[in-house]
Symmetry: C2
Subunit: 339 residues, 2 copies
DNA sequence: TTGTATGCGTTATCAG
DNA sequence: CTGATAACGCATACAA
């Protein structure tokens, strides 16, 4: 089978017997074109199956690619998927498409993805930074006017727009909720590395709540795991302490899943639990899981709106947007202390 | 602040005192370049913060964009997110990036996304078709040699590669499992529209299993809902029948979630249940949910491998790949008939 | 209403 | 080893 060359504007023009410029005029509703010419051009476009070449067009007009480059840690995580969905729905009306890459939480991949996006001349960059990355190298892009927004976690070494959950306030409210039900020994199941921004903030919220209630901070009540299984192990360790916690606060959704599994399998469902970040099926669990819910879609939408403002010429100073969390009371967090 | 023009190859060349072509040679490891010249070029590249312009390069070499356009129904759905992750990890080594758009399950958006991808001259197209769409318009692209793979559901009106779950066989095995535990009245909770490929296939698998066991097909035992809430309603309707089913087969993950919620809230946990597609936390449910699990990552990887073969020149006829499912036994599907 | 000349940033070709 | 020139597909500026 012959590998056919794709028809160009010139091919269409030749077919009709006009110049490429005339075809261009028709396609872009530019200058005036005779009605008949327009129709013949359109006919030729259909006949040849002509598809305009965006790359060539963008280059000529000196415009950037009508795309937004998005870097997320992993595709399969519904949190980031929903963020991406929020972004896409908010920018669709502007004709912007989304180019997504996942960094697997490694700075190297993140950087190479960013470089690929820059080489494509994307109109804006949206980044969920991986744990150990640094963003100084993006300074020149910022001064060149490229909109850059950081999601879920702020930039490191760079002043830039960011949109994150109200992690600290949310965690504080979740832990305060447990305290209001009488708990005085509350365990914290977090993720690793402890240096991760969200982990740090939520941990601070946990301590804020303890302090506000006049409760002592006991570091033996803090344990971690990097996935659900490890979080389950951490939960079991906490429950095995000489003076075990009567309630647990899980610092993210994987930690919450791990804690739920551990409590269920060890028959310790009387231990109160509040998770950070909502889970599907949380309401069907036994007991139904009380959570501090994030709003990933709102994060995506807020970030998109910021980018659109920047694209419209807003040159005001970088702003950090805090997306509120919401305590969803379902049962697991309202169990009183026992044992 | 001055909106600085981005440095071009010519800028770098001028800085060094050479021609653009020499810079090009350095950057692409093309022809021979004096060691000293190479070093001076690299220095200038760093100094000016030069980023090659992929659009210009692609245009000149006549190559397609090193990107794969992926159309999925929705971003937030972890199934599609995981598929995308599988694709990305499989094509990363080839330097291909992923451009993703969501169609919201509408043919119009799907088509406009495809057009946008074609205008960008992507190297390949991967499509999860929305329910009512038709793909005849892609015929010319296929003959032009553009690799196109359909995911999760096959193409309509077009012969093309596809990678889908073994829906029919999987559903059959799930229903057969229920039958093997003594159930003779098994309800089917499906999604709408009933014309959807996956729905049709899984429903056929359900009927296959009944027939193989010599059980009659009773259409009153079939009900549907387009989301979890509607599926919960459908479940309640089935349970309220004069002769209610003793077991349920849920045709997808939303249907399964709805069924789980309905059974839990109505206190009918003794009704056996098998879902198609796995759910997070399925093992912690009461009873733990038995499912026919799909392998979204494997679907993505298989599709990516097919695309890579096509890009390497494989012109053999279109192939349909079936990705096997796996029955995961957890408890809900092993409850005997009661009542 | 339409055409001509020119250039976007890059690379292929052929000289030097 | 390096440079000059043309060309990729398209749109801008101006002329006809």
């Amino acid at each position: 089978m012959v590998e056919m060359r794709r028809p160009t504007m010139t091919d269409v023009a030749r077919e009709v017997g006009v110049t490429a410029k005339t075809v261009s005029r028709v396609l872009n509703d530019d200058g005036p074109v005779a009605v008949e010419t327009r129709e013949r051009v359109m006919a030729a476009v259909r006949k040849l199956g002509y598809q305009p070449n965006l790359m060539a067009r963008n280059m000529r007009v000196g415009a950037r690619d009508a795309a937004i480059g998005l870097v997320i840690p992993e595709m399969g995580n519904p949190f980031f998927g929903t963020v991406a969905g929020g972004i896409e729905s908010a920018v669709r009306a502007r004709g912007l498409t989304l180019i997504v890459g996942s960094s697997s939480e490694t700075p190297e991949l993140e950087q190479s993805l960013i470089a690929a996006f820059l080489a494509r001349r994307v109109s804006a960059l949206m980044i969920v930074p991986s744990a150990a990355s640094d963003h100084r190298h993006l300074r020149s892009e910022r001064v060149a006017g490229l909109p850059i927004v950081f999601l879920d976690r702020p930039a490191v070494g760079l002043t830039a727009d960011s949109v994150v959950s109200a992690n600290r306030a949310g965690a504080r409210s979740g832990v305060a909720h447990l305290i209001s039900y009488g708990h005085r020994r509350i365990g914290f199941v977090g993720d690793v590395p402890a240096a991760l921004y969200t982990r740090r903030e939520r941990f601070q919220g946990y301590r804020d709540a303890l302090e506000a209630a006049g409760l002592p901070f006991d570091r033996t009540l803090v344990d971690t795991g990097h996935d659900a299984d490890a979080a389950a192990q951490a939960t079991l360790r906490l429950l095995a302490l000489p003076a075990p916690p009567t309630a647990l606060f899980a610092g993210n959704n994987l930690a919450a899943m791990g804690a739920v599994v551990a409590l269920a399998k060890s028959g310790r469902k009387e231990v109160a639990l509040v998770g950070f970040d909502d889970l599907p099926l949380a309401e069907v669990l036994d007991p139904p899981l009380t959570v501090v819910a994030q709003d990933p879609e709102a994060i995506g939408v807020a970030a998109a709106e910021r980018v659109l403002l920047r694209l419209d010429g807003d040159r005001s100073r970088a702003r950090g947007t805090l997306v509120p969390t919401r305590l969803i009371v379902r049962g697991s967090g309202e169990q009183p202390p026992r044992g």
